[in-house]
Amino acid sequence: MAIPVRGAGPLAGDRRRRAARLRLLLGAGLAAAMLLSLGWGAAGETDVTAALLARAGLAEASLRDSVIVWDIRLPRMLAGVLVGAALAVSGAVMQGLFRNPLADPGLVGVSSGAGLGAVLAIAGTGLLPAALQSFVGPWLLPLSAFAGGWLAVLLLYRMATQNGRTSVATMLLAGIALGALSGALTGLLVYRATDDELRDLTFWNMGSVAGVTWARLGAAAPFILAALAAAPFLARSLNALALGEAAALHLGIDVQRMKRIAILAAAASAGASVALTGGIGFVGIVVPHLLRLVQGPDHHGLLVNAGLAGAILLLLADAVSRSIIAPAELPIGIVTACLGGPVFLWIVLRSRAQLEL
């Protein structure tokens, strides 16, 4: 049986070109959103271009403009991009892993697991020897959040999966239980925290990209970047996994290994995001779902586009949170929940028949 050479034009049912076109569009959209985020702020008239070029010695900028752009807006903008991309990609990866469009780091307790890890780090830093404290200092929070998120996904996957089948009902219910449990432990730590720790906890708990410093960004970014870099390599396996674990194995996927990598990637991105900006919900469920409607569920196009669209969504949500009650700021988690809650309800109502709860 001879194999003919690829013909011109896409076949019916082939949505890869649509995904590629959408990627260009989202890439342009992200660039625009990043510029918007840099150029727009509470400080009033600021020469952003000059401040950016001044670092390269190409222009003159005032110290005020330089500080606003380089120390306030740029880290905040980068945090928005990284966290938005991380949340959307970790949502898409978890949905592929659990074979269910309702899996979301915020919804199934991964974020609260990471939150517990973060709170443990904040409350426990004082217990470490001083030498160790200065050594692990900035890394402790993201590391601990990552560990908490990782444990949560791992536990959840173990509990929800039996004989290669993942039960939606078990996943959601176990997620609620895990969330409540880590919430209670978090509450306990908050209750017995000192005033200084309490201030840190409250600050962190607000869930905002405001006040992100280069140091905090630098500590969380490696986790997020590693997870984002790993995600495209999972696309092939996640596609095969849509047919079930046995079929994926027969298609040549080392299922156990790929599951470990997917769990690590989801936990690293969700955990580091929580460490950086607190609990921002619904990005991970809304973005992949809307993209699947447009370009189909092929993870090759989905994971990249989810990263781009998640970053755009968070930058826009940040813009809303900064302007809606200006000069004060609304925590961004409230904005994403207001956007995401209705969309999530809509998904649930649309797929009511398939839920089998």
């Binding site: 049986m1 076949l11 019916a12 849509a242």
Partner: protein
């Protein structure tokens, strides 16, 4: 080149599902696994394809399957499951393209039209853009067959046969499509590949099998050509029914006419 399995044992909890099964199949032939409900047919197929843990040894083309990585095995054999769930709204074409997950050796750039060809092969040309979830049970089964065919499209690779494992491939199909699927299996074997199929229908087995392995209670009751295995005495004992095996003039193979009988009626009464 052949598939050879020795002393396969599978237990679920304390229950023994396979109690030391030997199995052999040759490339160029259609080997059928038959037997009553719960005799271990699907379990045997799963052990042969490495899907479940088992005692004993399986060798494909002389290579120990336990020593092969999933990616290596995927180039050597493809498996059609009894019923396949799909968790996201892929189109028929996208499902078939999943068959290319392990790649097509040596023809990386030339595989673009393969999924559409496979869909046409199973009689579903024009279904490329249809959503898998909207298809009928029979259409879904044939889309899955197309996916499996794409995975091992060339029946012989580098001089070694490739293997098609089918778990009840016709269970959701009408009689016309049953014959179509069996013809695809026959063509694959004729072109040098190997086919191992679990079949429920004894007459399909009699018509299409080169070799039959009849399982009963996790053991091989009988193995050989259809004429050797599908006899009144063997079948009656395995299925606890009175049966008459016959040979119609044109085909030359046996055919089985079930006649309601003692044990079956007792079971129905329960």
């Amino acid at each position: 080149m052949e598939l050879r399995a020795e002393n396969l044992r599978v237990t679920a909890g304390r229950r023994e599902i396979l109690r030391g099964v030997d199995f052999a199949a040759r490339a160029g032939e259609v080997a059928v696994i038959a037997g009553p409900n719960g005799s271990g047919k699907t379990t045997l197929l799963r052990a042969l394809t490495g899907e479940i843990a088992h005692g004993g040894r399986v060798a494909l083309n002389g290579r120990d399957c336990a020593a092969l990585r999933p990616a290596e095995l995927a180039l050597l054999r493809a498996v059609l499951p009894q019923a396949a769930a799909l968790s996201f709204p892929f189109t028929a074409l996208e499902v078939v393209r999943l068959g290319l997950t392990a790649g097509v050796p040596g023809t990386r750039a030339a595989t673009g039209r393969l999924p559409a060809m496979a869909l046409a092969r199973v009689g579903l040309a024009g279904f490329e853009g249809r959503h898998f979830h909207d298809l009928s049970g029979g259409e879904k089964q044939r889309v899955q067959l197309a996916r499996v065919l794409v995975q091992i499209w060339e029946p012989v690779l580098d001089g070694a046969p490739r293997w098609l494992f089918l778990d009840e491939p016709v269970s959701a199909l009408d009689i016309g499509h049953q014959l179509q699927v069996m013809a695809i299996a026959r063509d694959y074997a004729r072109a040098g590949g190997g086919v191992v199929a679990v079949l429920h229908d004894l007459n399909l087995t009699a018509m299409h099998a080169d070799r039959v392995t009849l399982l009963d209670g996790g053991r091989v009751r009988s193995a050989g050509t259809p004429a050797e295995v599908l006899t009144d005495a063997t079948l009656s004992a395995a299925y606890h029914c009175r049966l008459r095996t016959n040979t119609p003039p044109p085909a030359g193979g046996p055919w089985i006419l079930p006649q309601a009988a003692d044990h079956c009626q007792e079971e129905a009464a329960e």
